[in-house]
């Protein structure tokens, strides 16, 4: 297989404003970097799981041993960014007189904190009307200083200029974008991910892989994002099994963190596709963790999409490290799906939707199909997805 011709839209834009610092123990740079941004009175956003694991304490130590003042710790963040947590977080930020935020956690924590910072920057106290606007670009201004430490290698929320917010009332996930909501600096410190259990390492890693694969195969795909997405796929396919099986392997943890950030820098410019649309519905209606839902749906959606853009799945197969140089494009593309199934097996992700109580009946499938069909990400899927197609995909995932 020679490198195929890969088309892209004649106009595209690519952006990422976040500065990235990487090193084991890079947290030692926190005080200097935050003071450079003008912050001095810090509120730390995290969740109870991260605190209990002693991870946020490692950041508190850096703040305590510096000129910075720790104004408070807000750790009441639940799974999925929620309106109430966001509004409470902003009230807390103001009540302790903070002028900057440090965020330590996974996607839910980072997305909650992004929304909080928008409320602080705009002087508002209720995020719901903003979330309903979906795009907050009109008159958007830079926000107060914000440094993020991701503690999972999956979401890449530290660099994306969007957040996904769960609307508990309507049981749906709203995607909201703002040009300055991502962190000013993302500090990738793999030491903070060493205690992540194998199962969570596995499905958050599959989240990152889904970002990269859907970013590269999206209708918005373009060459700069391709470079990031394809290298993320290379790193994940090599290092995810190691990170799952040898949790303390700092090289694997570090490469996974880098890969998840790169995958996010890819997909936040190109968007994703039907895997994400179905995963959002599964998360909103059945509480399935986002990375797990992506892991379940990814090979099925890839299989469905292959006929539309085999050349893109062929380069994905190549990035997955498969020997495809002698293959026809279509053969190489098909191998990418099998490789994803084998990777999931290798990292112990054998779950199906049935394991999460989803039943093969209209009562469950109807709302899932309706929600996935109206998810914004589905517009970026390379193959047009009808409601019948979604029904078939959910059926296959049972």
């Amino acid at each position: 297989m020679k490198f195929p011709s890969i088309g892209f839209e004649p106009f595209f834009s690519w952006v990422n404003r976040t500065r990235i610092l990487y090193a084991p123990s890079v947290r030692k740079e926190l005080a200097f970097e935050l003071s450079q941004l003008g912050g001095s009175n810090v509120v730390l956003f995290t969740d109870k799981g991260v605190s209990k694991a002693g991870i946020s304490q490692k950041i508190v130590e850096q703040i305590s041993n510096s000129e910075l003042k720790l104004a408070g710790i807000f750790d009441n963040i639940q799974q999925d960014a929620r309106m109430t947590n966001i509004n409470d977080g902003a009230e807390y930020y103001r009540s302790c007189g903070a002028d900057c935020m440090v965020v330590v956690g996974g996607g839910s924590v980072m997305d909650t904190a992004k929304a909080v910072n928008i409320l602080i920057g705009t002087g508002l106290d209720d995020f719901k009307p903003l979330a309903e606007q979906a795009g907050l670009w009109e008159d958007a201004k830079p926000l107060p200083p914000h440094i993020a430490f991701p503690t999972t290698a999956g979401t890449g929320c530290e660099v994306t200029n969007a957040m996904v917010v769960l609307d508990v009332e309507s049981k749906s996930k709203l995607s909201v974008t703002h040009p300055y909501c991502n962190s000013d600096i993302a500090m990738l410190d793999p030491e903070l991910t060493l205690s992540l259990p194998p199962k969570i390492t596995a499905f958050t890693g599959m989240d990152a892989l889904t970002h990269a694969i859907e970013g590269v195969s999206s209708v918005g795909a373009e060459p700069i994002a391709d470079a990031l997405g394809l290298h993320a796929i290379r790193l994940i396919s090599k290092y995810l099994p190691i990170a799952v099986n040898e949790p303390e392997n700092i090289e694997a943890r570090g490469n996974m963190l880098i890969a998840s950030t790169m995958a996010a820098m890819c997909f936040c410019n190109t968007m994703t596709g039907a895997t994400h649309a179905t995963a959002h519905a599964l998360g909103a209606l059945h509480g399935i963790p986002h990375g797990m839902a992506n892991a379940i749906m990814l090979p099925l959606v890839m299989e469905f999409n292959i006929e539309e853009c085999p050349e893109r799945y062929a380069v994905i197969a190549d990035a997955l490290g498969l020997q495809v140089h002698e293959d026809e494009i279509s053969t190489a593309a098909s191998k990418s799906v099998q490789a994803i199934r084998e990777l999931k097996e290798l990292i112990g992700l054998t779950e199906t939707l049935r394991d999460y109580g989803v039943k093969n009946d209209p009562e469950h499938f109807g709302p899932l199909v309706e929600l996935a069909a109206s998810d914004g990400q589905i517009s970026y899927n390379p193959r047009y997805v009808e409601e019948n197609d979604l029904l078939r995909l959910f059926n296959q995932a049972i």
Partner: protein
């Protein structure tokens, strides 16, 4: 304007689109679920260049001009970008990030219909055909 001779042409085309979209059960149901009074504001291309759609109370009524009541949602853009959008050549989410579309009010309901733009584009093409606006069809 790149595609239109005057400010009335786009409104004629867009009202025809909504007239035909109402006949499609999926789009009609989708619009009713939005349940909002929406003003599509293209007045940057002329003071009469706008229309509104009332999707409240289980109906879908599209009329020229600004609504007499306060709209729940205002989508402001140029008539050319609206043409690109209905032709599925302008992604609405990307357009919001580039300020080609300015949103005021809750857009979550309408954005749920964004995945249907491919279908909308087919209906729009039929509408343009019926109006003999053949030169405006984007391929």
């Amino acid at each position: 304007m790149e595609y239109w001779k005057d400010q009335h042409e786009p409104i004629t085309a867009f009202l025809k689109l909504f007239e035909k979209a109402k006949e499609d059960p999926e789009l009609s149901e989708g619009l009713k679920k939005v349940n909002q009074l929406i003003w599509f504001d293209y007045t940057e291309d002329g003071s009469d260049c706008s229309f509104h759609v009332d999707c409240r109370n289980g109906q879908v009524v599209a009329k020229q001009g600004k609504p007499s009541e306060e709209p729940d949602l205002i989508m402001s853009l140029s008539a050319d970008d609206a043409h690109r959008s209905w032709s599925n050549k302008l992604n609405p989410v990307m357009a919001i990030t580039r300020k080609k579309i300015r949103v005021k009010g809750s857009a979550t309901g309408l954005l749920k219909l964004a995945p249907k733009l491919k279908k909308v584009a087919l209906i729009y093409e039929q509408a343009l055909n019926e109006l003999n606006f053949l030169d405006k069809i984007l391929k």
